[in-house]
């Protein structure tokens, strides 16, 4: 009985994920603009601001930039998840799902799963554009894959945050506004675009312990891209471990919150 319940949860989750992914090519604007937005950031920072941002040791800014762009793209995709969730809520799709004898977990697990796959697709396109502006991976294939794995793991966590945001805010417009008010500082108060050494002393710890910084530093480290860190300490010396800790902590907070929000829809 328990075994079949788990199988049903998996199957239903996959069906919901299939439905979410099936929608992607039907609304191509969403994916296209997600990619264009990231490419715009690459171009802006590679050619406009990059020259004014000196890296310690004179390392290549473009090589420094790309892992940050990947992390930023994944963080921004939280808004896509949240908006997808509010959209389903306001259009009555969630009510339809909730009236069906499907696994209760499937709506949320399907959503987070499909968003990881979606992010993976976008990452591929961005990596190709990165190669075009001079970004390279200088390490081995396993280390490259480990970096990609970390990015996708982080995408999964961010999707859970998106689920919670979407179910909490409930309307597409509000979700759009709130997402970006939260997500912009999260990526800009980090090592994504500028080395944390350039920040005022009181802001620096915030930026260094920021999960987005940890993720970016971890991928830079894994791929042999420039990774300047001023201070010693956990964020500087163990970015991979710190990323994994963040993944566990954020998941432990936001997955239950998302599930709780979903369940309390019947109140």
């Amino acid at each position: 009985m328990a075994g079949s319940a788990v199988r049903q949860a998996l199957e239903d989750g996959l069906v919901v994920a299939w439905r979410n992914l099936k929608r992607v090519p039907r609304i191509p604007e969403l994916a296209v603009f997600a990619i264009l937005q990231s490419i715009m950031f690459v171009l802006l920072f590679a050619f406009v601001f990059g020259g004014a941002i000196p890296l310690p040791g004179g390392a290549s800014y473009r090589e420094y930039l790309m892992p940050g762009i990947f992390a930023q793209t994944i963080v921004f995709a939280t808004a896509t998840t949240a908006i997808g969730m509010t959209d389903d809520l306001s259009k009555g799709i969630l009510d339809r799902f909730r009236s069906l004898p499907m696994a209760r977990s499937a709506v949320l697990s399907g959503r987070t799963l499909s968003d990881v796959v979606y992010n993976g697709g976008i990452l591929i396109v961005l990596m190709l554009s990165g190669l075009a502006v001079g970004w390279r991976v200088h390490t081995s294939v396993p280390e490259f894959l480990a970096g990609v794995g970390l990015l996708l793991l982080f995408a999964f966590v961010m999707a859970w945050i998106g689920v919670w945001l979407g179910l909490t805010l409930r309307t597409v417009e509000v979700t759009q506004q709130v997402s970006f008010t939260v997500l912009f500082p999260l990526t800009f108060l980090s090592n994504v675009f500028v080395p944390t050494q350039s920040l005022p002393w009181w802001l620096r710890p915030l930026a260094e312990w920021n999960p987005v910084s940890a993720l970016t530093a971890a991928t830079r480290h894994l791929w042999g891209n420039p990774n300047p860190f001023a201070a010693s300490g956990l964020p500087a010396e163990h970015p991979i471990e710190l990323t994994l800790i963040w993944v566990v902590v954020l998941l432990a907070i936001f997955a239950p919150l998302g599930v709780w929000r979903y369940r309390s829809m019947s109140r």
Binding site: E11, R19, R23, R96, R98, S99, P101, S266
Partner: protein, 327 residues
Amino acid sequence: MSAIVAEGLVKIYRSRKSEVRALDGLDLTVAEGTVLGLLGPNGAGKTTTVRILATLLRPDSGRATVGGLDVVHQAQQIRRLIGLSGQYAAVDENLTGRENLWLFGRLYQLPSAEARRRADDLLEQFELADAADRVVKTYSGGMRRRLDLASALTGRPRILFLDEPTTGLDPRGRLGMWDVIRGLVDEGVTLLLTTQYLEEADALANTIAVVDHGRIIARGTSDELKAQVGGERIEVVVHTRDDIARAIVVLTAGMDGDHTIDEHMRKITVPARGGAQRLAHVVRELDDAQIGIDDIALRRPTLDDVFLSLTGHAAEVAAASGASDGR
């Protein structure tokens, strides 16, 4: 046996500023294989009732069973028995009709191949086969409603909830929907249907329950309700105001019952026991008396008439209903 039973359902929507008592001790029963029409204006509690019975919402107090199962404690078992088609067409507009039906069939726990066959059958049955592979966004309102209903049927439910199935449809779409619903009832499903139109409840339901402010205020067959309301009326608009008094004498001759006069519109309304025959008689009499008329019509009782006679107030569209209905 009763397929649906609700006893003393209470639901209160609380927000920071206000408290809306959406259901205030609602009782109803629907016998297996019959159709109950839940009739009432916006904000009366129809949608809330459906949402509780379809396990989407928990009541604050009271209890309800569907197919003998408790809506709070046996929700998942109930979901295997029911189909729900909502007021807001809950199909995915970025999927095709076929994909929608396959999706909902799978989530009703049909194996993939069977879900595919079921989708084909339903597309055929609901005359959507030609549009099966088009994205739902391109469907007309009527097609969307039919697909929504078909989605509710993928699991072959024994008990069906339809929340305002024809609201927003044009007259042709409405008649088409009625035919589809009658077909389902012939197959023996138990149906609970909400509507704002007496005519619709009349056309589809065995029993009608009138809801107002979260309670059932009357129930019976449509004939019983109409008798209570006073049945059909004749409305006459006379040509000149001076004729009103003479017209009333003609119109009420041999009839008892109230008549109402709208001086400004020169309109007189009288009960019309005998329906069309009475209308023909009245036309002849008015003609003989040489009273000029601008308009004359036989009017069937509407939801407003039902409300007026049951509650003394019109079926006002509650201004604050946005919060209480739907959510």
